[in-house]
Each structure stands twice: as C-alpha cells, then as structure tokens.
Amino acid sequence: MERVRVRVLAFARIRELLGGAQRSLELSPGARAGDVLPALAGEVPALGALADSTRIARNGRIVSLDEPIRDGDEIALLPPVGGG
C-alpha cells in the first residue's frame, strides 16, 4: 500500500482552528479530497462543521471532493472567500 502524505495549507478561520497555516498529514491509501478535513476533525472537532462550506484546492487548483489525492500533494483548505 502506497503511503499518502500531503502538505495541508489552511486559511482564515480554518488556519486559526488548526493552530497553523501549514502542516503535514498522512492519509489512508486511496484517499480523496473530501477526506482531508474529516481527517483533521478527528484532532480538532470544530473543523467538522466547516466541511460543507470549505473548498479544496489540490496543487493550486480547485477540485471536487472525490478527486484522488496523491502522495506529495499540496492540499489547501479554503473557507468561503470574501476579499475587497
């Protein structure tokens, strides 16, 4: 079984809940984009409530929740945006 270790980038409210802007995370083989936030919610339960509103970018591109994740990916967790 292939190891799947990714770099997680967190922003805004998610960054604060996670306690940092970056961390590494090991996922089960066959993991998909939608598995990242639930995996972190095991450690920080408040993140679970944000899963519905969070978009996932894989290597700088927004992906659907069933996008397969590969070892070495950069996974960004994006709360609803609102600059300006």
């Binding site: 922003f11 960054r15 978009r55 700088g60 609803p80 945006v81 600059g83």
Partner: protein, 140 residues
C-alpha cells in the same frame, strides 16, 4: 499588473504601471476599497486583517483581467490587494482600468471588483477596539 502586497497601495503608481497616461486611453476608472471604521452592528473597527492564498489569488486576478478584456475590449487593468492589517480608512484593494472610452472603463472596473470579491482566495477578519475579532462571512 496584478499583485498582493503588504504595504500601502499607491493608486497613482498603478495608473503609471498600466500606461494609463501614455496617450492611448481616454478614461481611467478606479475603484479603491477602503476599510470602514464601523462594523455592520455599529461596533468600532480598528482594522481589517486580510489573508490570501497568494498563487491562487493572483491567478484569479489574471483570469478576471482576461475576462474583462474579452467583454469590454481594449482595456488595461491593475488589480492589487493588500494583506495583513489594514487600518480603518486605508485602502485594502485597488482596481484601475484604462480604456479608450469611459463606458468600457467603468464597466470593466465594476466587473473586476465584483469578480475579485466573489472569486479570489482572500479572507478578512474584522478587528475591534477591545482586541477581539471576527472572520467576515464570504462566498462559498
């Protein structure tokens, strides 16, 4: 000209950067977002703290500018957003558009700021006088 910056934004420098005064354009429309000193509920706001996922935000600025060009013709755009703490009254974002005529300049400027607010990977937290703060709701 697309940038995420930490220092105060100088709109005049952006005009120069896009060649607004080269003689080719007849109008320049600029939008500056400025930080209001009151929250929606009336609480005094000392600053907005902005945060961006820079590579994605910049890529979005470029896409928005390309779309504005397709829709409104020959326009030159600067889109610059500041991150970090932006105090009440200061400029958080600037969109500068030069075009041959004013209708295109206005239309492209309004299009770009609307698109930026709803699409660019940028977030803001309202910071109050008592030290507390609140991430403002964005668009999913």
């Amino acid at each position: 000209m697309y940038a995420i910056v930490r220092e105060p934004i100088d709109p005049r420098a952006l005009e120069t950067a896009i060649g607004a005064h080269c003689g080719r354009y007849g109008g320049v429309a600029t939008f500056l977002g400025t930080v209001r000193d009151r929250a929606a509920d009336g609480r005094p706001v000392v600053a907005l703290e902005y945060e961006a996922f820079e590579p994605m935000a910049l890529a979005e600025f470029e896409r928005i500018a390309a779309e504005a060009g397709e829709r409104f013709g020959d326009v030159a755009l600067a889109i610059v957003h500041r991150v970090g703490d932006v105090a009440a009254g200061e400029i958080s974002v600037a969109v500068v558009v030069a075009a041959a005529h004013r209708r295109a300049a206005f239309a492209a400027c309004e299009y770009a700021i609307d698109a930026l607010k709803s699409r660019a990977a940028i977030w803001k937290k309202e910071r109050y006088g008592d030290g507390s703060g609140n991430w403002l709701p964005g668009m999913p």
